[in-house]
C-alpha cells in the first residue's frame, strides 16, 4: 500500500521506456515487506517519501531539495554531497538524503559480486536508489543520513576495496570510453591511462585545492564516445600519425555487399546499394581519397583523421600503427562565460606507461591555473582571460599552425620586451634630435 497518493507520477508508469516510478514503487514495496529481514539503518519508507516529495514537486513545479549542506568523511573534501528536504515533516524518510559518489572502474565493466556488494551496502545503509551512473561517471548512491557516511566509507574501502569519487573544487572522477577492451578504433589504452592518473592524483581528487572543478576525460579516437572534447578541462583523444591501413580485398567486399557499410548502422531504411564514391570518397572532408579500378587510395598527408571512412568500412580500414593522442584543454558547459569547446594544445603525444610526458603537461597547467585562476573559474575561462600564448608558455609548448583554425585577423599583437631590439625603451634624446617639438 503506497504511503502517498501520486496521481501525476502514476501517469509515468505507462509507455514502453523503463519507468523510474514503477521501479521506485517496486523498491518501496520490497522495503515494506523486507523479505531479507534487514535492520535498515535509514528510514525503511524513504522510497515512498521520495515519491511523495516528487509528486509535490510535480504539483508545485518547483524542487523541494534544500541548498547544499556540508557533510563528508574524515580527511576528504569531496565525494559526498549534503542534501536535505525542505518539507521534512511531510516526508521524514527523506529529510536527510545525502549523495555518495563512488569512483567507477574504468570503462564501467563490473563483476556481479562487486556490484551486489555495493547494492548490499546501499540496501542496509542507504535508500536503495542509485544513479547508474552520474554524468561525470561515478556510481551515484542517492540518499543516506550523516551517521551512515563513515560506515559506508569503511565498508567501501574494507569490504569492496574501492574509493569515493570527487566533488567540489577538485579533480573530478576521471572517465573514459571502453577503449581497446572492445573497440577496433582505440588508439591507446584509455582504461589504463584513466586508472593510472586517477590513482596518481588521489590527493587532488579528494582534497579541494583548485579554483574550481577540473575534469579529465579519455577518448580512444576522434569519434569521441565519452565526449571529452566538450566537457573536460583536459581531454586526451586518441589519434595516429602515419597512414590508414587499407585491406583492398575487404574494400572490394564492402563494394560487393559482403560487409554491411557503417557496420550496419543504417540497416533500418533502404538507402540503396552501397556506393563507395558517394558515401566515402565524396564525403571525405579533405577530399584526400579516390577510388579507381577497384582500388581505394588515400593521400594521408592531407587526412585530418575525421574517422568517417573508418566508421563506414571498419573491416577494411584501420587506424595507423604510430598511435598516440591529441590533448585539448578548457572545455566546459555554459556557466559563467558561455560554453567552451576544448582547444588543441598538444597535437601528438605518445601514450605509454608511466605517462610522464602527459603528467608533465597536466602539472604545468595545474601550477599555472592554481596561481592565476580566480575563485570558480574553470581552466577554459582562465585561458580566455590570459590568452592561449600564456598556456603555451607555462607548458613549454611551441606555437604551431595546428593551434589555430586561422591566424589572427587583427594586428593588435603583444610583443615581449626582449623580442624588440633595445627593449621597450626609446632613445628619447635621439628622438628629439631628429624631431622638433
Amino acid at each position: 500500500m503506497a504511503k502517498h497518493k501520486t496521481p501525476m507520477l502514476d501517469q509515468l508508469e505507462s509507455g514502453p521506456w523503463p519507468s523510474f516510478v514503477s521501479d521506485i514503487k517496486q523498491e518501496a514495496d520490497k522495503r515494506a515487506k523486507n523479505p531479507a529481514g534487514l535492520d535498515f539503518q535509514i528510514p525503511q519508507d524513504c522510497p515512498d517519501d521520495l515519491l511523495g516529495v516528487l509528486e509535490l514537486a510535480y504539483k508545485d513545479k518547483e524542487t523541494h531539495w534544500k541548498h547544499g549542506g556540508i557533510v563528508g568523511v574524515f580527511g576528504y573534501g569531496g565525494g559526498v554531497i549534503g542534501r536535505y528536504c525542505d518539507q521534512p515533516e511531510k516526508f521524514p524518510g527523506v529529510a536527510h538524503f545525502h549523495t555518495v559518489r563512488v569512483n567507477q572502474p574504468a570503462g564501467k565493466y563490473y563483476k556481479t559480486d562487486y556490484l551486489r556488494g555495493v547494492m548490499d551496502i546501499w540496501d542496509l545503509r542507504g535508500s536503495g536508489l542509485t544513479n547508474m551512473h552520474g554524468s561525470t561517471g561515478d556510481i551515484v548512491l542517492l540518499g543516506t543520513t550523516t551517521p551512515q557516511l563513515e560506515e559506508i566509507f569503511h565498508e567501501l574501502t574494507h569490504t569492496l576495496n574501492t574509493d569515493l569519487g570527487g566533488s567540489g573544487s577538485n579533480l573530478r572522477t576521471p572517465a573514459d570510453c571502453l577503449g581497446k577492451s572492445r573497440c577496433e578504433f582505440a588508439c591507446y589504452d584509455t582504461q589504463a591511462l584513466c586508472h593510472t592518473l586517477t590513482n596518481d592524483y588521489q590527493d587532488e581528487l579528494h582534497r579541494p585545492a583548485f579554483p574550481y572543478k577540473f575534469k579529465f576525460k579519455f577518448d580512444g579516437c576522434p569519434n569521441g564516445c565519452v565526449a571529452a572534447i566538450a566537457r573536460s578541462d583536459f581531454s586526451v583523444i586518441g589519434t595516429w600519425k602515419d597512414d590508414i591501413r587499407i585491406d583492398q580485398d575487404r574494400v572490394k567486399a564492402y563494394v560487393a555487399g559482403e560487409f554491411k557499410p557503417n557496420a550496419g548502422a543504417h540497416a533500418g531504411r533502404d538507402w540503396g546499394k552501397f556506393d563507395i564514391v558517394a558515401e566515402v570518397v565524396d564525403r571525405c572532408p579533405t577530399k584526400c581519397m579516390s577510388y579507381a579500378g577497384g582500388k581505394l587510395s588515400i593521400d594521408n598527408s592531407n587526412c585530418t583523421r575525421c574517422m568517417h571512412c573508418l566508421n563506414v568500412m571498419p573491416a577494411a580500414l584501420k587506424v595507423g600503427l604510430e598511435t598516440g593522442a591529441t590533448i585539448l584543454c578548457g572545455a566546459k558547459a555554459p556557466i559563467l562565460d558561455g560554453a567552451q569547446m576544448g582547444s588543441m594544445l598538444v597535437p601528438f603525444i605518445p601514450v605509454e606507461e608511466p605517462y610522464d610526458e602527459i603528467k608533465e603537461v597536466i602539472e604545468n597547467i595545474w601550477d599555472w591555473w592554481m596561481e592565476e585562476g580566480k575563485n570558480r573559474e574553470r581552466l577554459g575561462e582562465t585561458m580566455k582571460r590570459m590568452g592561449f600564448q600564456k598556456l603555451l608558455e607555462v607548458t613549454n609548448i611551441k606555437a604551431v599552425p595546428q593551434h589555430v583554425k586561422e591566424p589572427r585577423s587583427n594586428p593588435y599583437i603583444f610583443f615581449k620586451e626582449d623580442e624588440v631590439p633595445g627593449g621597450w625603451k626609446h632613445d628619447e634624446k635621439g628622438y628629439r634630435e631628429r624631431h622638433m617639438r
Binding site: W65, K111, A263, R376
Partner: protein, 386 residues
C-alpha cells in the same frame, strides 16, 4: 532500528583507516573473451538494433546486447541485471557512457536465449525493464541530470521529461532508420551536468525570474562579495537595506541584467530563484562531440521557452518528435542534425520545421554573440521575410 557498526570506531577515526586507494582495477572485471582479445579487435557489425558483434583477429567473437535504462535505478533492478549477467554472461556486465547496460556473451545460442529473456521482463506498470536498442542511426539513451528527484537548483525535472520523450521516441531507439545517430541530452538547469551543450537535441531547464533576495537572513548565511562576484553580468550590487528599522547588509539585483543562471544561488542560499510560474525548458539543436566529417559543434537554441507540463511534458515531446521526423525526411545519409541544418541554412531549418523564430533566438551574450550575426548578403528568402 539498532545501529549496526561496520567496524568504524568514531573515537579513533584513524585506526585501521584505508584512504586514497582509488577505484577497483578494470582488469578485475573483464569478461574472459574481452580480456583475451583486448587490443586485437578487427571489426564490428550491428546485427540488429541493440545487438553488436565484435570480431577479433584471433577469430573470437563477442556479442553485445545493449539495453536502455532510466539511469535512476533501484538496488532491486540492478540485482536483477546481475541475475541476468550471472545466468548468461558468467557474472559480467557493463554500463555505457549513455547509461545503457551491456550484456556480453561469446556465442549465438546464449545470445538468443538472453534476448528472449530480456525482452520479456516488464515492470508491474507495463514498461520494459531492459529494452534492447540504442545503436547506429537511431536514438540512444538520453543522458540526463537529477531534476526534482534530488537536485537543489533544477528548473525542470529530469527523469520525468526523459521518460516522456523516450516513450515518444521509442521506435527510433529500437530501429536504425534515421540519417545518422541522434543524441538527446537533458540538463535540468544551466549548470548543464553532462554534454547537453553539444547534443543533437539538448533539453535544458531554465529559470525566468531573477532571484528572490532574502534580505533579513542574507548577511547571516552568505558571503556578500562572493555573491556579487558570482554574477556573470554584474547584475548584483552590495547594498545596505532597512529591515524593521535596522540597517542590514544585503544585495540588490538589477532584473534587466539577470539571465537567471542561478550562479548567485549556488554561492548564496538566500537568493533562490525557482518558480513554478517562471521555470521551463529551452530546446537546443544541432550539437555534436564527434570529429566525424565536420568539427564538433555547440547546440543552438531553436525554441526559447517551453513550459513545464508535468507529468508528461506534451509540448516538449511533440516538438522533439516533429524535429526528428522532419530531419529524417530531409537529411542525407550520414548527415547529423546540425550538419543538415548548416547545409540548408538555419533560416530554412526554422521554415521546414515550422518553428517560430523569435528575438530570443538571437544571441546577445558577450562577444560570441557578435560572431553569430549574419555579416553577408548571402541568405535564403523564407516565409519569415515579408
Amino acid at each position: 532500528m539498532a545501529f549496526i557498526s561496520s567496524g568504524y570506531n568514531p573515537s579513533k577515526p584513524m585506526e585501521d583507516r584505508i584512504t586514497d586507494i582509488g577505484p577497483r582495477s578494470f582488469e578485475d572485471f573483464y569478461p574472459p573473451v574481452i580480456k583475451k582479445n583486448k587490443g586485437k579487435w578487427d571489426y564490428h557489425e550491428i546485427l540488429k538494433p541493440g545487438i553488436l558483434v565484435h570480431v577479433s583477429e584471433t577469430g573470437d567473437k563477442v556479442f553485445t546486447v545493449r539495453c536502455g535504462t532510466a539511469r535512476l535505478m533501484t538496488v532491486s533492478l540492478i540485482r536483477e541485471a546481475c541475475d541476468i549477467a550471472d545466468k548468461y554472461c558468467g557474472g559480467h556486465l557493463r554500463f555505457t557512457t549513455r547509461n545503457n547496460i551491456e550484456f556480453m556473451v561469446d556465442n549465438e545460442k546464449t545470445l538468443n536465449e538472453m534476448v528472449a529473456d530480456l525482452s520479456g521482463r516488464k515492470f508491474a506498470g507495463g514498461s520494459f525493464k531492459f529494452p534492447i536498442g540504442g545503436t547506429g542511426a537511431g536514438i540512444s539513451n538520453i543522458v540526463h541530470t537529477q531534476g526534482w528527484v534530488h537536485c537543489h537548483t533544477p528548473a525542470t525535472d529530469a527523469s520525468g521529461p526523459v521518460k516522456a520523450v523516450m516513450d515518444e521516441m521509442f521506435e527510433y531507439f529500437q530501429s536504425m532508420s534515421l540519417p545518422a545517430m541522434v543524441r538527446i541530452s537533458l540538463a535540468c538547469c544551466l549548470n548543464m551536468c553532462g554534454a547537453v551543450h553539444c547534443s543533437d537535441i539538448g533539453i535544458v531547464g531554465i529559470h525566468r525570474k531573477p532571484p528572490i533576495v532574502e534580505t533579513e537572513i542574507l548577511d547571516n548565511i552568505c558571503e556578500i562579495p562572493l555573491a556579487v562576484a558570482a554574477c556573470p553580468t554584474g547584475a548584483i550590487k552590495p547594498s545596505k537595506l532597512e529591515v524593521e528599522g535596522k540597517k542590514v547588509n544585503s544585495v540588490v539585483v538589477n532584473p534587466e541584467r539577470c539571465m537567471y543562471c542561478g550562479n548567485c544561488y549556488t554561492m548564496c542560499p538566500a537568493m533562490p530563484l525557482a518558480s513554478g510560474q517562471g521555470d521551463g525548458i529551452v530546446l537546443m539543436v544541432g550539437g555534436k562531440v564527434s570529429n566525424r566529417i565536420s568539427m564538433p559543434k555547440f547546440s543552438k537554441v531553436v525554441v526559447a521557452y517551453i513550459p513545464n507540463e508535468p507529468p508528461r511534458w506534451p509540448t516538449l515531446t511533440k516538438t522533439i518528435k516533429h524535429i526528428v521526423e522532419v530531419y529524417a525526411k530531409n537529411a542525407k545519409k550520414y548527415e547529423r542534425l546540425g550538419e543538415w541544418a548548416e547545409r540548408i541554412g538555419w533560416e530554412k531549418f526554422f521554415e521546414v520545421c515550422g518553428l517560430e523564430f523569435s528575438h530570443h533566438c538571437i544571441d546577445d551574450f558577450r562577444d560570441p554573440a557578435y560572431y553569430t550575426w549574419r555579416q553577408s548578403t548571402q541568405f535564403k528568402f523564407t516565409s519569415h521575410v515579408e
